[in-house]
Amino acid sequence: MTTTVIKNIFRAPATRRYPFVPRVYYKNTRGSVSIAVKDCIFCGMCQRKCPSAAITVDRAQKKWQISRHRCIACGYCVEACPKKCLSMNNQYAAPALKKEEEIHGDA
């Protein structure tokens, strides 16, 4: 126990000086879903698979929208996407003041 105490006095802190030192995420980290909307065919597979009903696809208007607050970043939509235009990003979604839907459109 004494050695631990002495070590702790001279050792750098175990915590990170966030936000001055940014957190480096792993390649695998499930942060947020991103879409390459150009490749999207708006089939709605992701909407049907999403366990938390965070994704809405409008085929007629060619709109893909996601509620970042409802998304649990499970990656089920990424697995289901037939065109592989969805991908899992290792950065978390940015904090927001309002619960707004994020809209991606093929315009």
Partner: protein, 359 residues
């Protein structure tokens, strides 16, 4: 006779992050009776099987508990695979063992920290959680999530760990086990800690058996009951025997959990050494039909999943009996006769997970 009063313990109590309520009937400072009440965080997850299809429900099952999440998802998958007669690839079974044991290591380290905090040893609490954080890093690196692994699915696993990474993980864990050994020595040898835990909350072997205690709570009383011995996933090919103690007090329960950390590290080493190659998932087609009980060992004890399916997309009924639920009768049994100041420590020794209990 001194006057009896009722002291409420919880639902919000500093020792627990989760809401459980105990009405403690005390005479002076001595507890004579404890009346538990749960139900503050009921989320109706069992009912959700009617809304989420059987493959989607894995994500819900994982969220029953924030600590033993992987094993919940795995137990659910095991049950569905049994109902649908799906063969799981060998490699997937081994990976399930690795992740189960990693979650056991991090859960027990979490418990050790909470325990140290409960008996007032702040720096030991910090040290336990510092090591736990390193284990969480391994989990995040391999699955993508810190506590919600999301890597188990019906028919196999979602992610693979490369053989070189597996070797690296075992080397890392060997390194951490030296540090865990250092804190384990304080838990097991330090005079003040020993004095605080020894002889407190005795549960005899008969009582543990009759009250249906599970996991470390039962094993600390000498009941050598470990569901991993039932042989699910790749456990039949692992060489280990249940850790037991005979004293049945808080010290014994602490000792069982510490030994289990090292046992888990050893199982991960064995699995990494003998993991076969090949696919990690099999295709799932059709729908589940029939009834099945799936039982696995969580860090806190045995979890039972009951499935009832009628060949449709949704299950008819899902029932989850979690280890904390099974251990509450044992808790109510050990509380009477102890000082009020012992109650937080006693409540913690069953490693309560209230979200699990209420689902």
């Amino acid at each position: 006779m001194s006057k009896r009063t009722i002291i409420p313990f919880g639902p919000q109590h500093p020792v627990l992050p989760e809401p459980v309520h105990l009405d403690l009937v005390v005479e002076d400072e001595k507890v004579v009776e404890a009346v538990p009440s749960v139900g503050f965080v009921h989320r109706g997850l069992e009912k959700l099987v009617e809304k989420k299809d059987f493959q989607e429900y894995v994500f819900v099952a994982e969220r029953i508990c924030g600590i033993c999440s992987f094993i919940h998802g795995m137990t659910y998958s095991l049950g569905i695979e049994k109902l649908m007669n799906i063969e799981v690839p060998q490699r997937a079974s081994y990976l399930r063992v690795v992740w189960s044991e990693l979650s056991r290591v991090h859960s027990h380290l979490l418990w050790l920290g909470l325990m140290a905090d409960a008996f007032g040893f702040e720096s030991l609490f910090m040290e336990s959680w510092r090591i736990r954080e390193l284990v969480l890093d391994i989990i995040e690196e391999t699955t993508g999530g810190r506590v919600i692994f999301g890597s188990c699915k019906v028919g196999g696993v979602r992610k693979d760990i490369e053989d070189t990474s597996l070797k690296a993980i075992t080397v890392k864990l060997e390194d951490y086990s030296v540090r865990i050994r250092a804190i384990a020595d304080i838990f097991l040898r330090d005079a003040s800690v020993k004095h605080r835990l020894s002889g407190v909350g005795k549960l005899s072997r008969e009582e543990a058996y009759m009250l249906g205690a599970v996991g470390p709570t039962a094993r600390a009383s000498g009941v050598a009951q470990d569901m991993r011995k039932l042989g699910y996933a790749a456990y039949p090919r692992m060489d280990f025997s249940p850790v037991t103690e005979t004293a049945g007090d808080c010290y014994a329960r602490c000792s069982v959990r510490i030994q289990e950390i090292f046992q888990s590290i050893e199982i991960i080493r064995q699995a990494a050494a003998s993991i076969p190659g090949g696919a990690i998932e099999n295709k799932v087609s059709g729908f589940p039909q029939g009834e099945y009980f799936a039982r696995t060992e969580q860090p806190r004890g045995e979890v039972v999943y009951y499935f009832k399916a009628d060949g449709g997309k949704f299950l008819k009924r899902l029932r989850v009996r979690t280890p904390t639920f099974a251990n509450i009768p044992a808790l109510v049994k050990i509380l009477p006769g102890h000082e009020l100041a012992d109650v937080p420590v006693l409540v913690l020794t069953i490693d309560p997970c209230i979200s699990c209990t209420e689902r």
